[in-house]
């Protein structure tokens, strides 16, 4: 029996930021090694799903990588448009993380996110 928990209930930090004017990078960071491993092993954070989530082509996904030493996952996308120029919406790229918050991660029922949070 499985349930799902939104990523925001398992991670400690979910953020976006420019990596130079031509890339935007997203970090998902964990304080708990078990949760990190669980999200990694769930496979939900994969290039195909994330490209679809952000309506970009998979070739725009430049990094989609778990990094154990920091208990972190990093996604880096090509940034389109001209940073800080005509039509800019987010000069620092710091408010593009929203869609990641609600990615559903399968967990064994009952959801450990509810138990471990207490």
């Amino acid at each position: 029996m499985t349930a799902t928990v939104p990523l925001k209930d398992l991670a400690e930090v979910i953020r976006s930021k420019n990596a130079g004017p031509y890339e935007i990078t997203f970090d998902v960071m964990f304080t708990d090694a078990d949760r990190y491993a669980h999200v990694r092993d769930s496979g939900v954070l994969n290039p195909t799903a994330l490209a679809s989530l952000y309506s970009v082509t998979e070739s725009d996904v430049r990094t989609c990588q778990f990094f154990e030493p920091a208990l972190a996952f990093k996604l880096t996308l090509v940034r389109h448009g001209d940073q800080g120029s005509i039509g800019e919406r987010d000069t620092f790229g710091a408010q593009q993380h929203g869609p990641l918050l609600d990615i559903l991660v399968p967990v064994p029922a009952p959801a450990p996110g509810e138990e471990a949070r207490s």
Partner: protein, 463 residues
């Protein structure tokens, strides 16, 4: 800088001019540090600083933050490095920062030996290297044109550690280095390298320190690195803050494309074998970082130019009938404005609506389809002249205010306008026209100059 290892490097804030806690600053300096480094620039705020020569904060903010640092330089003989001076690190911004340091030193009764490093790039050099295929496409696969190079109003390169190392190698004493555009970790790394620190440790320490206490919990303020040959230890300068293995590891991958390999001038920082250990409740030890040197020097060249002039208005819409048909309404406003201004219809001018409360932040990528009870509209018009931008912006604002729409009940006006005048010129709009890696073999860049600022020393005055 005759200190032997370990050396203690202090960065009191992540960005010069953003303010910092003076009690934390003075306590940290009293505890003993060998060097103060503060970053003053970034490309993150966009291209306007490079394109227009504007600074990131006002001169008053720079003066407020610099004055205690200059006093510490004089009272404790601690060298200070200001890098990427003024925001973009152009030669003009280096000169203005040097003038400010001169004025502050004079007001404080100090005499300081200042070394400046220029980072302006001659357009001829870049154009020549572009023609010879020595500039790499950016991550989008784009190369600049020769016109981009020639017409850039600001053109700089990010210096690596070398210019700082050359200054240190001369042994000539100095109090303040004011550097133009630099790779953010370069000054910290250079001082560590000069003292025999392993390159991986030196660059990793620089990468963490350049953002000040951003590596701490809660983030903010300053941070001190105690640097040994094969490791460094980080402690935040705020007593209520902590550096933890996770906070430092997390900051290592901040604003970088990859979490494991961090390329910069001179090579790649490899943090795959890195170990982060808690020394005590607020101090973290980092070791295991490696540096993979590149086989030839490569520099990142940054260029910006003015691409138009902008005017804008802000308004709010609360009427549910209009909100329900907002997209078609805004298309009609644009079409009508295009009939009055052929530049808009023809594409030499542009209009962008940012609809806050709906998708102002994410635009077409916004996943939410919820219907808001009110929206904010930022109308952004860009044209070839400030006058035309304002004229089109006025037409668009009037259209948003008065154009009729199906089912309209509120016939007196469509939009709540908070500002008066209701539309405003915003000024020139810039764009990065270069942000590219260039083969830097056989180039003599980053000129160094020495000068005395502030009060002339008594022995010289009486000589």
């Amino acid at each position: 800088m005759s200190a032997s290892l370990p050396i203690r490097i202090f960065t009191p804030q992540g960005m010069l001019g953003y303010g910092y806690d003076l009690a934390d600053f003075h306590r940290t300096v009293e505890e003993g540090v060998d060097l103060i480094v503060v970053d003053s620039g970034s490309t993150d705020p966009g291209p306007y600083m490079l394109g227009l020569g504007k600074t990131l904060v006002t001169v008053e903010s720079y003066a407020r933050d610099l004055r205690p640092m200059l006093r510490a330089v004089a009272d404790h003989r601690i060298p200070l490095v200001i890098s990427s001076a003024g925001g973009a690190g152009t030669d003009e911004q280096v000169a203005r920062m040097t003038d400010l340091v001169d004025r502050l030193a004079d007001e404080e009764g100090l005499s300081l030996r200042v070394v400046t490093i220029g980072a302006d790039m001659p357009a001829d050099v870049v154009a020549d290297r572009l023609a010879r295929g020595l500039i790499e496409p950016n991550v989008r696969g784009e190369l600049p044109s020769e016109k981009d190079v020639r017409e850039a109003t600001g053109l700089v390169a990010q210096m690596g550690a070398e210019p700082f190392l050359e200054i240190l190698a001369t042994g000539e004493p100095f109090d303040v280095i004011i550097a133009g555009r630099a790779y953010d970790p370069a000054p910290h790394a250079a001082f560590a390298l000069h003292h025999g620190v392993e390159p991986g440790i030196a660059w990793h320490m620089g990468k963490i320190l350049e953002c000040g206490g951003a590596c701490a919990e809660p983030k903010g303020g300053g941070v001190v690195a105690t640097v040994y040959r094969d490791r460094f230890e980080l402690s935040p300068s705020g007593p209520a803050q902590r550096c933890t293995p996770l906070s430092v590891a997390a900051h290592t991958l901040y604003e970088k494309s990859r979490p494991d390999l961090l390329p910069g001038p001179g090579g790649v920082l490899d943090v795959r074998a890195c170990v982060y250990e808690a020394v005590d409740e607020r101090t973290v030890r980092v070791r295991g970082s490696r540096f993979l040197p590149s086989d030839h020097p490569v520099l990142k060249v940054e260029g910006a130019a003015v691409v138009g002039h902008r005017a804008a208005f802000i308004g709010g819409i609360h009427d549910p009938v209009l909100i329900a048909q907002l997209d078609t309404f805004l298309e009609r406003v644009e079409r009508q404005a295009g009939q009055l201004h052929p530049e808009l219809a023809g594409g030499t001018a542009s209009l962008a609506f940012h609809v806050y409360g709906r998708n102002g932040v994410m635009g077409p990528l916004e996943p939410s389809t919820a219907v808001p009870h009110e929206v904010g509209i930022l109308g952004e018009v860009t044209a070839e002249s400030p006058e035309l931008a304002l004229a089109i912006c006025t037409t668009v604002r009037i259209g948003c205010l008065h154009l009729s729409y199906p089912g309209q009940m509120a016939t007196a006006g469509n939009m709540a306008l908070p500002l008066n005048p209701m539309e405003s010129p915003i000024g020139p709009v810039c764009a990065f026209t270069l942000y590219h890696l260039m083969d830097a073999r056989d180039l003599d860049l980053f000129p160094v100059a020495h000068r005395q600022v502030g009060r002339i020393p008594a022995e010289e005055a009486t000589r």
